[in-house]
Amino acid sequence: MTMPALPLAHLASVIRSKNAGPLCVTIDLFFRDTQAYERAVQSEALKAPSIAFHYGLHASQIRRFELPRIMAIKLSMPRAVCAGDPGDGDLYGAQQHAPLLRLML
């Protein structure tokens, strides 16, 4: 039996994005419990092709790390421009998590 999909925002306790240096942005997802984490790890929605689609990147540009001990998934990717370049709209990369909030897992 397949489980009904749930929005990521209901499964995670932290959904944050931030620069990792001026050239990369990294997204940290911390899950509420082991069940939520396991669901997230299995979900296609959080795999590289899906993430790449939401950020206009190629799957090969996404690095994904699974950290079962702290029930976290990390997604690191290139920034569209170097931080602070004219045209950059998010110097700290702190608001790049938004498209993930509505992902259904």
């Binding site: 690095r63 001990r69 990390k74 690191s76 290139p78 709209g89």
Partner: protein, 478 residues
């Protein structure tokens, strides 16, 4: 007057502390010195008799302006307050005070501004002590030679990082400031001058806290892992915060304890901190090697403290240094306005283009606009369905060779956009809603990063300049 080097705080610590007898108590007072150290938690830390006090003062995060302009991000008044607080404590306890990445970006003007404030504080209090400094400005010829010899490289050549191209020699000559991040090795060299206080230009956050432990013989992996966590003070706790944190370093582990009794360092919160602002949660690159956290182990001591062990250290044969440089793009003026007419919102991109063309005819010159349409995907690209049509915020940057041209372009542009006759226009009173006047504002110089690379095959002493001076203000009231 204290002129004998054996009496300085660093000399005293190196002489009196032996690993294995008691744990080394390291007090991290601030991860952003100059934005207000939390007094209560810092004072709670002092009651624990720390062996030394460290503060981080800088970061690349606030963007290229600070490195480029030489300005500090933190307000001078607050920097003076924080410096006085940590210096007073260090002098009273006679323990070393170590501050890294002085003045935000750690270039020469940042280091000088920080030292000037430190001096003001010392003079006002009639304190005497020995100060060591590390200059982190990279000589341009060293950089140009490294580039020519293929020793200046991308930090990450893979496609998982934005590719910042190697700047041309002329760009490296024109960049206003270029710094390298020094590591523990350089801090150790500076500490060998036996100061009471060490103020470093651009440095690895870890060096602030890992250098003295390594001089004392502690394990580099443990020292660096501890340093990596405590440089952000109590951010590794639940709830995270800016309160001072105490690390007690032993021979096989270290124990973390927030000095805010309501912020708890738990195994999960400390482990989670390894993810913060790191593209790879397992690996921390240092000039002298790689810190590997795969085997790191976190255990609760009690509900407030966590014990950490297990990190591994792989030294590299020759050091590599991260290099940061900023170049002035031009002067910037900014125009702020709101738009509530759906037809104007719809036509905004073409209206901006047309108005820009007209204003360029009125004001020829090398000025350009960068527009941010809030509500339409200014923060990140938005799907069509999520774009606002009933109200948008308009922020337009005007970049020009000088401030006069940037401001003139902004003013003339504003008036032309206000009365631009777009197709289907019903609202002939004006197209823009201003929240204040003047709605176009001078916004300093604009800089961009031209270097965020790694340099190999260079010795630390070719890059970093260590000095030590005895300051004597006893009986010399300011």
């Amino acid at each position: 007057m204290k002129s004998l080097l054996e009496n300085t705080a660093v000399a005293h610590l190196l002489r009196s502390h032996r690993p294995g007898t008691e744990r080394l108590r390291v007090l991290s007072a601030s991860g952003q010195l100059g934005f207000g150290i939390v007094k209560e938690s810092f004072e709670r830390g002092l009651l624990r008799r720390p062996h030394f006090i460290g503060c981080d003062m800088g970061s690349i995060d606030p963007g290229p302006y600070y490195l480029g302009s030489g300005q500090m991000a933190a307000p001078h008044e607050m920097v003076r307050r924080d410096l006085e607080m940590v210096l007073r404590a260090a002098r009273e306890l006679n323990v070393p005070l170590i501050i890294g990445s002085a003045g935000t970006a750690g270039a020469k003007p940042h280091l000088e501004a920080t030292l000037a404030l430190l001096r003001e504080v010392a003079e006002a209090n009639e304190w005497s002590f020995r100060v060591a400094t590390i200059g982190s400005d990279v000589p341009r010829n060293v950089l140009i030679k490294a580039r020519a010899e293929g020793r200046l490289k991308a930090l990450d050549e893979s496609e998982t990082s934005f590719h910042l191209s190697l700047p041309a020699d002329q760009v490296m000559k024109d960049a206003s400031h270029i710094v390298a991040q020094c590591g523990s090795h350089t801090f150790i060299q500076a500490l060998q001058s036996m100061p009471d206080v060490l103020i470093a230009g651009r440095s690895c956050d870890t060096a602030i806290f890992a250098a003295l432990p390594q001089m004392l013989g502690y394990d580099p992996a443990l020292s660096l892992h501890m340093a990596k966590i405590i440089e952000c003070t109590s951010l590794c706790c639940v709830p995270g915060g800016r309160d001072a944190i105490l690390a007690e370093l032993g021979e096989t582990d270290f124990i973390l304890e927030s000095l805010n009794p309501n912020a708890h360092a738990t195994p999960a919160s400390v482990a989670a901190h390894a993810l913060y602002e790191q593209a790879d949660p397992w690996v921390v690159e240092e000039p002298e090697g790689t810190l590997d956290l795969h085997q790191a182990h976190y255990t609760a001591v009690d509900e407030h403290r966590t014990q950490v062990s297990g990190a591994q250290w792989r030294p590299r044969a020759l050091p590599t240094f991260k290099v940061e440089g900023a170049l002035r793009v031009g002067s910037r003026a900014v125009l702020f306005a709101g738009v509530a007419d759906p037809t104007m919102v719809e036509q905004m991109p073409s209206a901006l283009e047309e108005v820009s063309r007209r204003v360029h005819q009125l004001l020829p010159g090398a000025w350009t606009i960068v527009s941010h349409l809030y509500g339409q995907g200014a923060v990140r690209e938005l799907p069509e369905a999520q774009r606002s049509s009933h109200e948008i915020g308009l922020v337009i940057e005007f970049l020009a060779p000088d401030a006069g041209m940037a401001k003139t372009a902004a003013s003339v542009f504003k008036q032309n956009l206000l009365h631009f006759g777009f197709t289907g226009r019903l609202t002939t009173g004006g197209n823009l809603a201003f929240a204040f006047t003047p709605s176009e504002i001078d916004a300093n110089d604009c800089y961009r990063f031209v270097l965020y690379h790694v340099m190999e095959g260079v010795r630390a002493d070719e890059l970093f300049v260590i000095e030590a001076h005895d300051w004597n203000f006893q009986g010399v009231p300011a």
